[in-house]
């Protein structure tokens, strides 16, 4: 489903050149739940942005659903993105001026759904996420956990193949964090591919596989359990 070959991303300013990703190659199969871990500045977010078709790599190949997309234009990427990828962010990134309902409805508008279809889908997903009773509230009126549930609702409403989650529990306490992780696990069981960037060992334990980055390169790529054992033995 996703395959990268020697994926490289270099940021250039006037004087400094930073290599955020250095020849990263891996593959993710449909239905997998993969966590990406690593210290700050290791290139996790850069990788996630490229995987999420928000950014192009400087070099290397990126195969997304059997298309080589590394040199796609912004418009082509946007088209592919809105049909196939749902995003969940650490800071939720809900639009404060729009209600819960309107926030969740947004991707469907950009996909050109009719308003009756949108209503059906939004209410379905809000019920599923147990946030239906808050549909007319605005994001700032909700708790962090509720906001993230809205964000997850928005990510899944268009039934994407992949969900990209960037530190989804980073701004939540452990109870709310578990709630969100359970939601993601549930989605994964129903067949959605999930790629998650995280700092949290606990969150990573939900994944089937962990890709560990350091200084823009993959250090290990293991099954969760094995990784936990390895990291314990290293300590």
């Amino acid at each position: 489903m996703i395959k990268t070959v020697d994926l490289t991303k270099v940021f250039r300013t006037e004087e400094v050149e930073t290599t955020a990703l250095n020849k990263v190659s891996f593959e993710i199969k449909e239905g997998e739940f993969v966590a990406i871990m690593g210290p700050s500045g290791c290139g996790k977010s850069t990788l996630l942005n490229i995987l999420g078709l928000l950014d192009n790599p400087s070099n290397g190949q990126y195969h997304f659903l059997d298309n080589e997309v590394s040199s796609y234009s912004e418009k082509q990427r946007a088209n592919l993105r809105k049909k196939n990828i749902g995003f969940v962010f650490q800071n939720f990134n809900l639009i404060d001026e729009l209600s819960v309902y309107e926030n969740v409805e947004l991707p469907l508008i950009y996909l050109g759904y009719s308003s009756s279809e949108r209503k059906k889908r939004v209410e379905e997903v809000l019920t599923q996420m147990q946030i239906m009773h808050r549909k007319n509230h605005f994001p700032l009126q909700l708790s962090g956990g509720q906001q993230q549930r809205v964000a997850v609702s928005r990510a899944v409403v268009a039934k994407p193949h992949i969900i990209l989650a960037d530190e989804p529990t980073g701004n939540l306490d452990s109870t709310h964090g578990d709630e969100v992780m359970n939601l993601l696990e549930e989605l994964n069981k129903n067949g959605t591919t999930i790629i998650m960037v995280t700092h949290s060992q606990r969150d990573a334990s939900y994944a089937q596989r962990i890709i560990r980055l350091f200084d823009g390169q993959i250090v290990t790529e293991d099954k969760t359990t094995e990784f936990v054992l390895t990291s314990v033995s290293q300590q």
Partner: protein, 788 residues
């Protein structure tokens, strides 16, 4: 680079606002200072006359010559009086050169006791007590003699010798009555002492009274019954006319609109200007606020660092207030430069002579510093307050702040700015359209390619005839005609008895003494009856041609031919002249398009009467040649007659100079307003784009195209602009329709000017908004959504 652009926009915007405010402050200070330099200004009044005849009342700033001495005689509260009698088209000669002068007055010798003028040479006492004496201003003295020390020199005025008895400094421009020279009224003594009854019925001079300190003008004007019985009624009864008088304080005359008064300033216009000044400053400050708040996110880090280093909120508040004050004072410096640039244009527009030194007068400077400080504080208050309250812990986190209330305020201000812009553009276009309409309107009379040689009744009729015959040889001169008045110039209006079914009908009618060519010369249509025949002796002093309005006014309708008009009453009220109507001419606008057509009669002169104008119709495009020819001819053949030649059209056009200026002022303020609104919108859209970067990022991640984002932003601003247009449409329609109602001849309003104005506003707004939005919309969403 970015912050340099913002600073430049800020300073420029503020300086435009401050410049506007300074110019208006200058003008207001000037307008409100009129005539206050006279030491006695609190005790001086101008007496105005209100005359009722034939069912209507006329109000004049001028009164009859005997009024002033009679008032002093009868009322002990009157300390002194001064009369000013206008005498235009004077021919002035010195040994070196000759001049046509239009700003001389005959005046009483008391003028220097009542009014305050500074003497350059000569003495105030007795300066104007003798006949044929004249006092000149410095400029006039310099012009005539090349020196301001002309006391004792001899000057020829209308071919008589006058002695210059004193030279005074130029009359300050903040005087309602401006002049270049004063001639002793004693010179007119003969003319001023003919039969008093006759004189009470004509108004020729301004009458100023100086009262004693404890006397009010009301105490005199409210006790006029005996005065009226003694002086006014005996003469008024001749024509069943009534007269009454009012007094205007000297310092209020500048704002008094009344016939024959020197040009007045409109208090309403000044109020509008004051509002515009306040508006300019507020908008400039608002623009600063918008731009500054737009940059809060950029400065947030700085504040976080400052606060974590120990700065208190009030220190931060003061830092930003000082910053905006500094901006305002930098803007003030730029304004002074801007003023230096725009002052000549402003002077032309307002007929003033301000210089940069006027701006630097202590009291104006004080006002400037106040305006600037207020502007700086107003501009900086909101962003300083917001910035100083920022929590350093929150600043470092990517949390954004909601600004609901102030966002609404900003939107209201944008609507307000654009509504004003649309009103001003609509106004500019409509004023232009009306002026074009007046310019092209069929006046019922031909004025193009026609010149008038001003004779002032000086040369005898035979000499005029000689000139007329001689210049007819010039191939460019098509025809000539003589008259006592010309279209667009001054006319005499007289009281007459018009023949009525029973007895007489007292009425007023404007007269013009003409030759038989006059009707053809101006291409006026005779619709009934015939033209004059100069060779028929019976036509002289016995016949009249009247216009349609006169026939209607006298109630003659279809049978006006053969009716009689009696006038020129003697001291017993017996008319000396009886005219028979021989022709009806089509109505034409003989005064100008500011006045409706009133009753008019033309007549041939009697033996004693002479003409004031020799009118010359020349070939198309030959005006300069013909003027040159006439000047050469007169200097050669008639050396004592000064060539005073004017375009007949000029008198017509001059009557709309105020409207022309109004149009220009409208246009300029429209431009400034659009510029400031444009910059304001630039600021606001940059603010919104900045504030909504995250939202744009989210929307793009969720699949919105750049075009979709642009449409979203434009829709929001379009709502503001459309609201502005909805407000501007009825307001401008109402204001302009009212303004147009002040014209006798006006255009019918169409939506076209409003449409053009609205479209310009929309285009300008869309271009401005698109600039920022496009940048934001093109941005990679990754940049706005970083959470690390």
């Amino acid at each position: 680079m970015r912050s340099k652009l913002y600073a430049a926009i800020n300073i420029f915007c503020l300086s435009v606002g401050i410049t506007g405010a300074i110019l208006i402050a200058l003008l207001l200070n000037h307008e409100l200072s009129y005539d206050k330099y006279h030491l006695n200004h609190q005790n001086i009044y101008r007496i105005e006359g209100h005359y009722t005849l034939g069912g209507s009342t006329d109000h004049f700033a001028i009164t009859a010559p005997p009024l002033a001495p009679a008032l002093k005689e009868e009322f002990s509260g009157v300390k002194n009086y001064v009369r000013f009698h206008d005498t235009p088209n004077l021919s002035v000669r010195t040994q070196e050169a000759d001049f046509i002068e239009n700003n001389f007055f005959y005046t009483d010798s008391t003028v220097f006791d009542v009014f305050t003028y500074k003497f350059v040479s000569g003495q105030p006492r007795g300066a104007l007590s003798q006949p044929n004496t004249v006092v000149l201003t410095s400029s006039a003295s310099n012009k005539f003699f090349g020196t301001t020390q002309a006391t004792g020199e001899i000057i020829r005025i209308n071919n008589e010798n006058y002695t210059v008895t004193a030279v005074i400094e130029d009359v300050p421009l903040n005087s309602h009555l401006l002049f270049d020279g004063l001639i002793s009224i004693a010179t007119l003594e003969n003319a001023y002492t003919i039969h008093p009854n006759y004189f009470w019925s004509i108004s020729v001079n301004y009458t100023y009274l100086q009262l004693y300190d404890d006397v009010t003008i009301e105490s005199i004007l409210e006790n006029m019954d005996d005065f009226n019985r003694k002086y006014i009624e005996p003469s008024g009864s001749l024509l069943s006319a009534k007269a009454s008088f009012t007094g205007t304080p000297l310092t209020d005359i500048r704002f008094k609109v009344i016939q024959m008064s020197p040009p007045a300033a409109s208090k309403t216009s000044l109020m509008i200007l004051l509002v515009v000044a306040a508006f300019l400053v507020v908008i400039a400050a608002v623009n600063y606020t918008n731009l500054a708040t737009a940059r809060t996110t950029l400065r947030a880090k700085e504040i976080g660092v400052r606060k974590s280093a120990g700065a208190t909120s009030s220190q931060i508040l003061w830092q930003f207030l000082c910053e905006s004050l500094l901006m305002a004072f930098l803007a003030l410096l730029l304004s002074l430069l801007l003023i230096e640039i725009v002052l000549p244009g402003f002077n032309t527009l307002t007929d003033k002579a301000f210089t940069i030194t006027d701006v630097l007068q202590p009291y104006i400077l004080l006002q400037l510093i106040m305006i600037t400080t207020i502007t700086g504080l107003m501009a900086g208050a909101y962003p300083s307050f917001i910035l100083s309250r920022m929590n350093p812990a929150r600043i470092l986190k990517p949390v954004h702040h909601k600004t609901g209330g102030s966002a609404l305020l900003r939107k209201i201000l944008v609507v307000f700015q654009f509504a004003i812009s649309v009103i001003l553009i609509t106004g500019t276009l409509t004023v232009r359209e009306q002026l074009d309409f007046l310019d092209n309107k069929d006046k019922g009379i031909s004025l193009e390619n026609r010149l008038a040689l001003i004779l002032n009744g000086e040369p005898g009729n035979e000499r005029i005839k000689r000139i007329q015959d001689n210049i007819a040889e010039n191939p460019h001169i098509l025809s000539t005609s003589k008259s006592s008045s010309i279209p667009g110039g001054g006319f005499n209006t007289v009281a007459v008895h018009a023949e009525a079914d029973a007895g007489n009908y007292d009425a007023k009618i404007t007269t013009n003494i003409v030759d038989e060519k006059f009707i053809d010369f101006f291409e006026i249509q005779i619709i009934e009856g015939r033209n004059f025949h100069e060779d028929t002796p019976g036509d002289h002093a016995n016949t009249a041609i009247i216009n349609q309005t006169a026939a209607k006014y006298f109630g003659w309708h279809d049978n006006a031919l053969g009716k009689t008009i009696k006038w020129q009453f003697d001291q017993h009220g017996i008319p000396q002249t009886e005219l028979k109507v021989i022709g009806i001419m089509q109505d034409h606008n003989f005064l100008n398009l500011n006045n409706p057509v009133t009753p008019l009669m033309l007549q041939l002169p009697n033996e004693e009467e002479s003409y004031n104008y020799l009118n010359i119709h020349h070939a198309e495009g030959k005006s300069q040649e013909v003027i040159q020819y006439l000047e050469d001819y007169l200097r050669r053949e008639e050396p004592d007659l000064l060539p005073n030649i004017q375009f007949i059209r000029q008198g017509y056009s001059e009557s709309f100079s105020y409207e022309e200026k109004l149009g220009a002022i409208f246009g300029i303020f429209a431009l400034v307003c659009i510029l400031v609104s444009f910059l304001g919108l630039f600021g606001l859209s940059s603010f919104m784009a900045e504030q909504r970067r995250r939202e744009v990022g989210i929307r793009k991640v969720l699949g919105s195209s750049g075009r979709g984002i642009l449409a979203l932003f434009i829709r929001e601003f379009a709502i503001l602009i459309l609201t502005a247009i909805l407000i501007a449409a009825p307001v401008s329609w109402f204001l302009l329709d009212n303004w147009l109602d002040g014209f006798i001849y006006r255009i019918t309003m169409t939506p076209l000017p409003l449409l053009i104005a609205s479209l310009s506003a929309i285009v300008i707004a869309m271009v401005t908004v698109s600039y920022h939005t496009l940048k934001t919309a093109r941005m990679n969403p990754v940049d706005t959504l970083r959470s690390e």
